[in-house]
C-alpha cells in the first residue's frame, strides 16, 4: 500500500533523510501521495458506514417494524437519523474526500510534473482537520438521542430545536462536523488551485494540462466561492441550537427561509463540485482506452467554466414549494433548464471522443462508459424537476430521490471505481485482476439500476421521502413488492462489493507488477515508477513538457501514443 511509496522514497530519493518511524511516515507525512491515501481509505471506510445505513433503512422500508439482520429493530427516530446520516456521510465524507481530496492530491502534482503540492504542511493540516470532522460525526452516533435526525438539509426550526428533532447533542455535533469538513476542504482547495496555477512543469502551457486537473481545480474554486454563506449560516444555526438566538425562529423575528437560501446557495454548486472531478476521470479514461484525442479540449474547458458560473444561478429550484416568491421560481426554472445544455455538451463531447476510436474494454473503461449511460438518465430526469410546475407534485417524492441517486451514484461510486481501477497500478505498483473487476462491475451496475428504477415509479405515484413506513398510506401500500425488490437488489449489490474487496486483498498479496505505464498513456504520472518515489522524480530528472496530453494516434508517430515529456524528435 502506501508503505511501498515511502519505502521506495527511502531508497531513491535525493531528499532521503534519517530513517522515519512508521508513525511519522504514515500519520505525519507531508507527501501528497500519502495524504491522498489517507483521504482515500478514510473515504472508503465511510462509504461502508453509509452503505450499512442504507441497508438498515431500506430493510425497514421493505419490512416495516421487523428486526433487521445485523441491526435490530429500527425505531422511527432512528430511521430519521439513518436517513440523515446516510446523506450527509455520502456527500461530505465519501464523495468529496475521495473524488477531490484523494485523487486531487495524488494526481495534480504528478500530472503537472511537480514534486509535491506547493503547501505540503497545509496539506497535512487539511487531512488532520478532516479526520477530526470524521471523529466528530462518528461520535455523534453514540451520544444521547443518537445522530442528528433532521435530514442532511437541516432545515430549521426542526434542526434548531431539540424538542422537535429529538437529537439535540447529535444536531450540534453534526453542524460542527460539517463546519470542520468545510475548513478542511478550504485548506485543501487553496493548495490545489495555487499548485495548478503556478507549479506546472516547464513547457506545460495552460491547454496542455490534463482535463482532470482543470476539473478538480474548477471544482475547488466553485466550492470555495459557494461555501461562505453556509459557513455563516452554520454558525447561526449552532447559536440557535446552543445559545438560544432566533436567527431562524419565526416566532421571534427570524426567518427559516434564510437558512434554506444559505444552504442551497452552496448546495447546488456542491453537486457540480462533485460532478466535475468524476467527469474528469471519465475523460482521461476514455481518451486512453479509445486511443484517441479528446474531441474538444477547449470546448470541454469552456463548457465546464460555463457550468460553474451557471451553477450559482439555479439554487432555488430546491425551494420551489418552500414558499419562495413565484416570480423567483420563474427565474430559477429558466436557469435550471438552461444548465442542462452545457452538461449535455460534456456528455456529447465524451461520446464524440469514443466515436471512431480503437476501444479497449478494460475495467476502467467499463466504469467510464457506465458513468455516461447512468448519468444521462439522472440528468434527463432532472429536467422534470427543474420545471417548477411539475416539481409541485414531484418535490420530496421518491422521484427526486431516484433522480439524484442516478446522478450521485455515477459521480461518487462509478466515478470512484473508474478512477481507482485506472490509477491503482500507479498508486500501488500492481495490476488488479481484470476478471474479478468485470464481475464486480456488472454486479454493481445491474443491481444499481434494479434498486432505483422502481423508485421512479414509486415517486410518480406520490410516495414521499423520509417516511418511516409507507404501509401507513393505504393508496401506496399496494406497491410494497417494489420496495422489497429494490431492497433485495441493494443487499445483492452490497454482497458484490465483497468481490472488489477480495480483488484488493488478492492483488496486494501477490498481484502482478504493473510497470511504469501499463495502459500506454500520455500523461506525466505514467513516466515515473509505480508507485512514485518521494519527490515523484529524481530531482535532476523533473519532466519537461513538449505537447498536449491527448496525442493518441498522431500521424507523425510510430506508436499510437506520444507521452507529453518526450522531445519532438521522438516521433
Amino acid at each position: 500500500m502506501a508503505h511501498a511509496a515511502t519505502a521506495d522514497a527511502h531508497d531513491h530519493s535525493p531528499h532521503a533523510h534519517h530513517e522515519q518511524s512508521r508513525l511519522v511516515k504514515y500519520l505525519w507525512s507531508t507527501d501528497h501521495k500519502v495524504i491522498a491515501m489517507q483521504y482515500l481509505f478514510t473515504g472508503m471506510f465511510m462509504a461502508l458506514v453509509g452503505g450499512v445505513m442504507a441497508y438498515a433503512f431500506r430493510m425497514q422500508d421493505a419490512f416495516p417494524g421487523s428486526s433487521i439482520p445485523g441491526f435490530g429493530v429500527v425505531a422511527p427516530g432512528e430511521y430519521n437519523s439513518l436517513v440523515t446520516m446516510h446523506g450527509s456521510i455520502m456527500i461530505f465524507w465519501v464523495a468529496m474526500p475521495v473524488l477531490i481530496a484523494a485523487f486531487g492530491n495524488f494526481l495534480i502534482p504528478l500530472m503537472i510534473g511537480a514534486d509535491d503540492m506547493v503547501f505540503p504542511r497545509i496539506n497535512r493540516l487539511s487531512y488532520q482537520v478532516f479526520l477530526l470532522s470524521v471523529i466528530v460525526i462518528l461520535a455523534s452516533l453514540f451520544v444521547p438521542g443518537g445522530a442528528f435526525g433532521g435530514a442532511w438539509t437541516a432545515y430549521p426550526p426542526l434542526s434548531a430545536q431539540a424538542q422537535f428533532n429529538q437529537t439535540g447533542p447529535g444536531a450540534s455535533m453534526w453542524v460542527i462536523a460539517v463546519a470542520l469538513e468545510f475548513v478542511a476542504f478550504l485548506l485543501g482547495g487553496i493548495n490545489f488551485i495555487v499548485t495548478l496555477m503556478n507549479a506546472r512543469a516547464p513547457g506545460m502551457k495552460a491547454f496542455d494540462i490534463p482535463l482532470v486537473c482543470w476539473m478538480i481545480v474548477i471544482a475547488s474554486i466553485l466550492f470555495m466561492l459557494s461555501v461562505g454563506p453556509l459557513i455563516a449560516g452554520a454558525g447561526m444555526l449552532l447559536f440557535d441550537q446552543l445559545v438560544g438566538t432566533a436567527f431562524f425562529d419565526p416566532a421571534r423575528g427570524g426567518d427559516p427561509v434564510l437558512w434554506q437560501h444559505l444552504f442551497w446557495f452552496f448546495g447546488h454548486p456542491e453537486v457540480y463540485v462533485v460532478l466535475l472531478p468524476a467527469v474528469g476521470f471519465v475523460i482521461e479514461i476514455v481518451a486512453v482506452f479509445a486511443r484517441k484525442k479528446v474531441f474538444g479540449y477547449k470546448t470541454l474547458l469552456y463548457t465546464t467554466v460555463a457550468i460553474g458560473v451557471l451553477s450559482f444561478f439555479v439554487w432555488a429550484h430546491h425551494q420551489f414549494v418552500a414558499g419562495i416568491d413565484p416570480r423567483m421560481a420563474n427565474i430559477f426554472t429558466i436557469t435550471t433548464l438552461l444548465i442542462s445544455i452545457p452538461v449535455a455538451e460534456l456528455i456529447l463531447v465524451i461520446i464524440a471522443t469514443l466515436y471512431g476510436g480503437s476501444i479497449r474494454l478494460t475495467v476502467p473503461m467499463l466504469w467510464a462508459l457506465a458513468f455516461v449511460f447512468e448519468f444521462m438518465i439522472g440528468g434527463v430526469t432532472g429536467i422534470y424537476l427543474g420545471a417548477s410546475g411539475a416539481d409541485v407534485y414531484l418535490h420530496d417524492t421518491f422521484f427526486v430521490l431516484a433522480h439524484f441517486h442516478y446522478t450521485f451514484f455515477p459521480i461518487a461510486i462509478i466515478g470512484n471505481f473508474a478512477a481507482f481501477t485506472f490509477w491503482f497500478p500507479k498508486m500501488f505498483g500492481k495490476m488488479l485482476d481484470e476478471r474479478l473487476g468485470k464481475i464486480h462491475f456488472w454486479g454493481t451496475i445491474v443491481t444499481f439500476n434494479a434498486i432505483f428504477i422502481p423508485l421512479f415509479f414509486l415517486g410518480l405515484k406520490g410516495e414521499h421521502r423520509r417516511v418511516y413506513s409507507h404501509l401507513n398510506f393505504p393508496e401506496l401500500a399496494g406497491m410494497q413488492p417494489l420496495r422489497v425488490f429494490a431492497t433485495a437488489a441493494l443487499v445483492v449489490m452490497l454482497l458484490f462489493q465483497l468481490v472488489f474487496l477480495y480483488n484488493l486483498w488478492k492483488t496486494f498479496r501477490k498481484g502482478p507488477a504493473a510497470g511504469k505505464n501499463p495502459w500506454q498513456a500520455n500523461t506525466l504520472e505514467w513516466t515515473t515508477t509505480s508507485p512514485p518515489p518521494h519527490g515523484n522524480w529524481p530531482a535532476d530528472q523533473m519532466p519537461k513538457v513538449y505537447r498536449g496530453p491527448y496525442e493518441y494516434g498522431h500521424p507523425d508517430r510510430a506508436e499510437d501514443y506520444w507521452p507529453q515529456n518526450l522531445p519532438p524528435q521522438s516521433a
Binding site: H15, H17, Q20, V24, S29, T30, P109, A114, D115, D116, M117, V118, F119, P120, R121, L186, G189, I190, I193, V194, T195, M197, N198, A199, R200, M224, L225, S226, V227, G228, P229, L230, I231, A232, G233, G235, M236, F239, V243, G244, T245, A246, F247, R252, G253, G254, D255, L258, L262, F265, G535, A539, M542
Partner: protein
Amino acid sequence: MSHRPMATDRSATGIPTGRLAVWWVLASEIVIFGGLLASYLMHRLGHPEWANATAVTNTWIGAFNTLVLLSSSFTAVLGHQAAEKGDGRQAARYLYMTMGGAATFILVKTYEWGHEIAAGYTITSNGFWSFYYTAAGLHALHVIAGAIIMGIVARDAARGRNLHRVELIGIYWHFVDVVWIFLFPLLYIAK
C-alpha cells in the same frame, strides 16, 4: 522531511505562490463575511423596528476602534516596506505595533461588550443583537487569529527569515481592516 518542494518556488502566473494563496483565502473570506452581513442587511432593512436596539451601540467606541484598525493597517504596510528593503528587525517592530493595535481593539471591544451585556443586551435579546455579536465576534476571532500568526511571522522576520511573509500577513490584516470598515457603518452609524 518537511523540506520545501520545488513546486513552491515555481510561478507560472507571475505571482509568488504564497501571495496567490492569500488572494484565494480572501476570496473565500469575502463570501463568508459577506454572507453573514448580507443576511444581517436583509433583516435590518425588513425590520425597521430594530432601530430601538441599534440606537444603543456607542458610535464613539466604534469610531475609536476604527481608528485603531486603520492605524494598525498603516503600521502593517510600513512593515512590508521595511521587509522589502531587507530590514527584518524594523519589519518585526512594525508588526509588533500592529499587534498592539489588535490588542487595543480587543480590549476596547471587551469593555464595550461588557457594558452592553451588563445593561441586559445579550446575544439572545433580539435579532439585532444576535447579528451584532455574531458578526463582530466572527471579526474579532479573525483579529485574534491574525495577530497570532503575525507574531510568528514577526519573530521569524526579526531573525531575517521568511521576510516575504510580512507582506502576506499584511494583506490578510488589511482585509480584516476592510471588513471592519463595513461593519462600522452597519452597526454604528447608519443603523
